[in-house]
Structures are given as C-alpha cells and as structure tokens.
Amino acid sequence: MNSFTKSLRPPEQKKKIMISGGKSFFVPFAFKFLLFAAGFFGIITYRIYLNEKAEELNREASAIQLKIHKLNREIANLKIEKERLSSWAYVGGRIKDYNLALRPATSDQIRSINIIGPKGYGGSGMASAVVAPETVLPVSRKSPARTTQNSSSSKISRM
C-alpha cells in the first residue's frame, strides 16, 4: 500500500509552535532552577550563619567558663582566707594587739529562760513572753538542789 502522510499545518505554523513550546519549557525551568538555587544558597548561607553564631556562642561560653573557673578559684582562695581570719588564733591575736577589754562571762551570767509560745505572740498584737516557773539556784554547793527541767516548747536565751 502506498501511503503518504502530510502535515495539515503549514511549516511556519509548525515552527511557531515549536518556538512557543521551547520558551514555555525554559522559563519555568529557569525559574525553578533559580528558585532552587536561591533556596539552596539561602540554606547554605543560613547554615553558615548558624555555624558562625554557634561558634561565636561557643567562644563566649568558653570565655564565661574560663571566667567561672577563675571566679571559683578566687572563691576557694577567699574561703581559705576567711577560715584563717576567723580562727581563734588570729582573732585572739587581734584582741591582744588592740588591747580590747573583752572578758569571758562569769558563771552567774549564764542562764536560760523559757519563753512559752506561740500563743503569746498571736491575736492581740501585743508581744508577750511568759517566763517559765522560776527556780532558785542553790547558793551553796553543798545543797544538792538542781534547777527544774522543763523543756517543752522552750527557747533559749543567754543573758
């Protein structure tokens, strides 16, 4: 069979279609490519920026750590110094050096009182402290009498 095919469109029209078809492919491709490239570039740049930021923070953290380390050492040094200065050997020496008229309390200056609370402090707004039942200490050491022991809800006060 002899067959002959022929395009019904003229060649110019055909070319036109081709051109318009190529253009329609390239532009979106280029656009997509550019978009992708820009996105990629953006991501990379952002990543670099984040890395830089992280490094910067890392550097700051290192500097702070170093500062903390230094401060810790300073604190440790001050702690030792405080212990040295608060020792009796030092304090006693200063008292002697400055000739301070300090003396230890005599035995009659040491006694305890019981302040019975908490009722005394509540409600009326009036501060009150009730002294526990009194006991006279024996004056002579031959007397075996002792102070009474009443330990309930007691606060100790030194006079």
């Binding site: 923070l57 040094n77 702690k79 030792i80 050997a89 230890p104 040491i110 006991t135 200490l137």
Partner: protein, 607 residues
C-alpha cells in the same frame, strides 16, 4: 594540512595534557588518601585535637560544724617556652621582673629561660640537639601573686609564659589539731599522706585525674560541632567531717600552751570527749607542729601521743576498781578502811600513801587518793573481779579510733597476775594505758557505766553526689549491774575537787566537777623515778549531767608534779571556758558572790 587537522592536533595535545594532569592528581590523591593516609591523618588530628587532663580536688576536712580544717588553696605553676620567650635581653627582662615578684634570684630564672636546646640520644644512640620547649620558672605560686603576674605579662608583653592552674594543700588553722589531721607531702605532683587523718583516709579523700579529648579551633577553644570524648572521668576526693568542734579545740590548745609555758613538760596532752556519744570534741598534744611550715617541722612532734604513747595512770585508775566493789556490793561509800598511817606491808613489799592517813571511808579514799585504801578494797573483790571490771572499762583494748598506729596499752591477762598485782593495778601501777583509753573509761563512769566507742569522724561526704555516709554511734550496755553505782561514784568523785580533796584547783565555780587526780612515777631503768612523773587530772563536768569528759596530762612537768597542782588548774580553765561556750547553766551560784544570787527558769541547754 587542513584547518580541521590543526584543530584535531591541538585538541589531542590538550586532551593528553589534561590526562597527564589528572593522572598526576590521581596519583597524588592516591598517595595522600591511601598510602600516606594514616600518617597525614594523624598529623592533622594532632593539630586540631587537644587532650585535656583535669586534676580532681583532694577531699577537705571539716570540724563538726563545717569549719574548714584542711583545704586546697588555688595556686599556679609558672612555666615558659624558651623558644618563644625571646632573646637574651627579653629573658633578662622577664627574669628580673619575675624575680622581684616571686622573691627569687633573677639569675636562676634567666638560666632556665636562656637555654634553648637540650641534648638527647636518638634511637641510634647518637647525640642530637633538640629545641627546649618547656621550662618551669616556679611551682605552687600563690593565687594572688600568679594573677598579678598574669596581668604583668599582658602589660609588659612577655611572650611564652604560661600559668598552669593547680592547688596546694593548706591548713588554715595552722597548728590547730595538727597531730590528728596529719599532713601530706608532694611527690611528682602527687600528694603523699604522711600521718594522721590524711593518711588513714588517704584512699577516700584522694582525687583522680580526668582525661578528655576534643577537637579544637586555632585558638584552643573546643569546636562546637567537633568530636569530644571523655576518656576518664575526673573525680574529687571525699570530704571528711570530724567530731571536733573548732572553738573548743582552740580553747583546749590555748590552755595546753599555758600549761606548757608554766611547767615546761617533756610532753603534754588534753582530750575532751562527749561521754554519751563517744565523740571526741577536742584533742591536743605538745610538742606539735605547724603543717604549713615544713622547714621548721620536728619529726618528734609528728607522733600521735594520744594513741601511741602509754603511761601508768596512777590514781586515776582508783575509781574503776572502787566502782566495781560498790557495784558488787562489797563496799559502800561509807565503808571504813584503815589506811595504816601511810605504810602497809603487803606481799612482801611496802605500799605507801603520799600522806599518812588513818581510818577513811571509801568516799574519803577516793577524795584523798589513798593507795592503801584502794588496795584493800580490791583485795575484798578478789583478783578475778578486779580483772573483770578493769577489762570491762576497756583497758588492754584498742579504742578503734581511725588513727594509726594505736597501742592497746599494757594490761596483763589474769593468769599472769602475781601476788602484788591486785594491790598495784587498781592504783594504776604496773598497768599502762593510752590517754584515749583513759578518756574512754571515764566516759563510762560519766555515762552510767556505758562504755562508748570513741568517734573522731562524724561523716564522710561525696562532694560530687552529695551522698553522706554517717558513722554510727554505738549503743552499749552498762558495765554496772546496780543502778545506784554510777550515782554513788559521781558523788564520791565530786569530793575530789572540794575542800579536803586532791584537786581543789580543778573546781569550776558554779558547777559540780567529778574527777580524779593521778600522779604516777615514770618507770626508768627498772625502777620508779623520784624526779620524773606524769601529772594527770581527768574528770567530767557538770558532774550529774556531764557535757564532756576532759583529761589533762603533763609528762615530766618541771617545778611541780602532782596532778592536782599541774593539770588541775588547766582542767578548770578549759572546762570553765567550754561550759560558757556551750551555754551550760551553772549548778549553783558560788558562795563568795551572794549578792549575785539569781532566780532562773527551768534550764535546757543547747549543745
């Protein structure tokens, strides 16, 4: 030749060129990546990988209330890289400045900086000269001085100087409790414990170094996205809390110094313990040392006399045998004995009293410290009972306190007793005790017959985890079978510090004191010396509810030798100050101050 042929040749040449170049690059790549991979990777890794060694902190030692007794003070080792420090002029500039600040000879520093090379043998045994990159200028430089030098280095633009952070063992209270705490020496950057608590607890308080590896930037800072590995964890040592109370310890040491100043003994010691818990509140000995001043340290002062030394306790032993006799019901406080006017022949030997005494009650025997009276009481008890009661008070047994070495004293087993033993051991002759053993025994007398286990370590704390291991207080049963024995003994021992007793000087105004003097002759060259004594006073106060048991002993005091004269006044001084510190209310108002008679409310002490 056509134009196309020309192009073809050029293309071929170019292709060959590229082939050659790429072949060369391929070979290089193969060499670098495959052949020399390990070598180059190692080199590169060394450049960006840093290995950091961190040293842990040795455990600290505190008193019961958290006052620091032994700590670690920060300091620095100053090092230099002679390759970087510069030329001779620069070295001189550095050495002069450092010498001035560190109080060192500048020439010494200069010599360390100026030597730029060192000679060593290589693998073939040939001498090779290598650059010297490390020199130590000074070790353990105080924190403040090191900080000042760091600033100076920046200001004066010194190069190649580095500061290595480290710590130094320090004893902020100097000689306070020195014998108990002990000290450490340094051997190649490692602490070596020599004596005391430092040595006994060396393992738990020792720290371990940690090693970590990380990838670093050019400036040495670890890379945030780099690899980091902890090869070994750094571990701080455990902290130890003692039962000692620093303020009371200071009182004890100060008064012991006063005793030494007045009587110049060969040695002296004092121990204070809580009779209920067995806690040692304070303990001191002379001679002692300052662990911060190593050059002035006398090794003779290191010995821990309270655990290592023994002495014949003398009359301080009497209450034990007498308490046994009272507990058994053999005698009562008013049972009378003939004290033979101070001389009594027993077992072929004469036993003497220091003063001639006649008929005395058991209370007076204790009060006046009659050897003859006590020996007669012991005879009524019999060997076995005397042995048993002394054994129950812990004589012949170690206290188990964490200080080494510790003696168990000398207390012969019953089968080795001879005829004289029963008359001599109850008066503290032929028996030897450590000061700690005597304190423990008196704790039992003060605490209703309960013999406590002495404690000097209260707890151990892990600073990393905060976990605390508390050392337990041991419950014990009473030595006495009779409930009244303790009370009777206390009443008798109170008389010792009253008029007519042997230790009026130990009486503390306002408080009842129960105690006993002891004056024992030293056994020198097979005989009892008439010039060398141990003078002791041991007791507890307030007698009826003791806050503490206190022992004061002077070894070979000069100018006096009686326990009441030498140790008594210092027992009083220490007790008086301690009772005030502890806010212990007085038992009575002294008679000489009647105008100050006061009324007090019910008492409850806080200590």
């Amino acid at each position: 030749m056509t134009r196309y042929d020309d192009i073809s040749i050029r293309m071929k040449i170019t292709a060959i060129f590229f082939i050659l170049v790429f072949t060369y690059l391929g070979i290089q790549l193969y060499t670098v990546q495959i052949v020399r991979h390990d070598e180059l990777y190692g080199k590169a890794k060394n450049k960006y990988t840093a290995v950091k060694t961190a040293t842990g902190k040795r455990g600290e030692i505190y008193d019961r209330d958290g006052n620091l007794l032994v700590g670690n003070v920060p300091c620095s080792d100053i090092c230099a890289d002679p390759q970087i420090v510069g030329n001779a002029e620069e070295c001189r500039r550095i050495s002069e400045h450092f010498g001035k600040i560190l109080k060192m000879d500048p020439a010494k520093i200069y010599n360390r900086l100026i030597v730029k090379t060192y000679t060593t043998k290589n693998e073939e045994g040939v001498d090779v000269e290598l650059p010297r990159k490390f020199a130590v200028i000074e070790t353990k430089v105080d924190f403040e001085i090191a900080e000042q030098l760091k600033k100076d280095c920046e200001k004066m633009k010194f190069k190649g100087i580095s500061f290595r952070d480290t710590t130094k063992r320090t004893y902020p209270k100097n000689q306070l409790l020195a014998n108990i705490l002990g000290f450490t020496n340094i051997d190649k950057d490692k602490a070596v414990a020599v004596i005391g608590i430092e040595r006994f607890f060396n393992q738990p308080i020792s720290s371990s170094s940690g090693i970590s590896e990380y990838e670093r930037a050019r400036d040495g800072i670890p890379l945030s996205y780099g690899k980091s590995d902890v090869i070994k964890d750094v571990k701080d040592g455990l902290n130890i809390y003692l039962t000692i109370r620093e303020p009371i310890q200071a009182i004890l040491e100060e008064e012991l110094d006063n005793l030494v100043a007045k009587f110049n003994p060969r040695a002296a010691y004092a121990i204070m313990a809580d009779p209920y818990t067995g806690n040692i509140i304070a303990v001191a000995q002379r001679p002692t040392f300052n662990p911060n001043e190593r050059t002035a340290m006398n090794p003779d002062a290191w010995r821990n006399r309270i655990t290592e030394d023994i002495f014949e306790p003398g009359s301080t032993m009497k209450p034990f045998a007498v308490s046994g006799a009272i507990d058994m019901g053999v005698v009562g406080p008013d049972t009378r004995f003939d004290c033979e006017k101070g001389r009594w022949l027993f077992g072929g030997k004469i036993l003497r009293d220091s003063h001639p005494l006649g008929m005395l009650t058991v209370t007076e025997i204790i009060q006046k410290s009659s050897n003859i009276g006590t020996a007669k009481i012991a005879l009524l008890m019999g060997d076995k009972n005397v042995y048993d009661i002394l054994k129950k008070f812990g004589f012949g047994e170690k206290t188990g306190i964490p200080l080494q070495p510790e003696t168990s004293g000398i207390f012969r087993p019953l089968k080795k007793w001879d005829t004289l033993s029963i008359s001599r051991f109850p008066i503290g002759q032929g028996i030897a005790v450590s000061p700690l053993q005597l304190v423990r025994a008196y704790c039992a007398l003060a605490n209703g017959g309960h013999l406590p286990k002495l404690r000097i370590v209260d707890k151990i704390e892990n600073p990393g985890t905060g976990i605390i291991r508390q050392y337990p207080i041991h419950e014990t049963t009473s030595i006495f079978r009779n409930g009244d024995t303790h009370k009777k003994m206390v009443e008798m021992m109170k008389k010792v510090t009253e008029e007519g007793g042997t230790a009026v000087s130990a009486d503390v105004k306002g408080y009842y004191v129960a105690g006993k003097t002891g004056t024992s002759q030293k056994f020198v060259n097979g005989a009892y010396s008439h010039s060398q004594y141990f003078a002791t006073f041991v007791g507890f106060v307030p007698a009826d509810k003791p806050s503490f048991v206190l022992l004061v002993t002077a070894d070979e005091p000069q100018g006096a030798h009686y326990g009441g004269t030498v140790a008594g006044p210092y027992f009083k001084a220490i007790s008086e100050r301690t009772l005030k510190y502890l806010n212990v209310p007085p038992d009575y108002i002294p008679e000489e101050e009647p105008s100050k008679k006061v009324k007090v409310a019910s008492s409850k002490t806080s200590h």
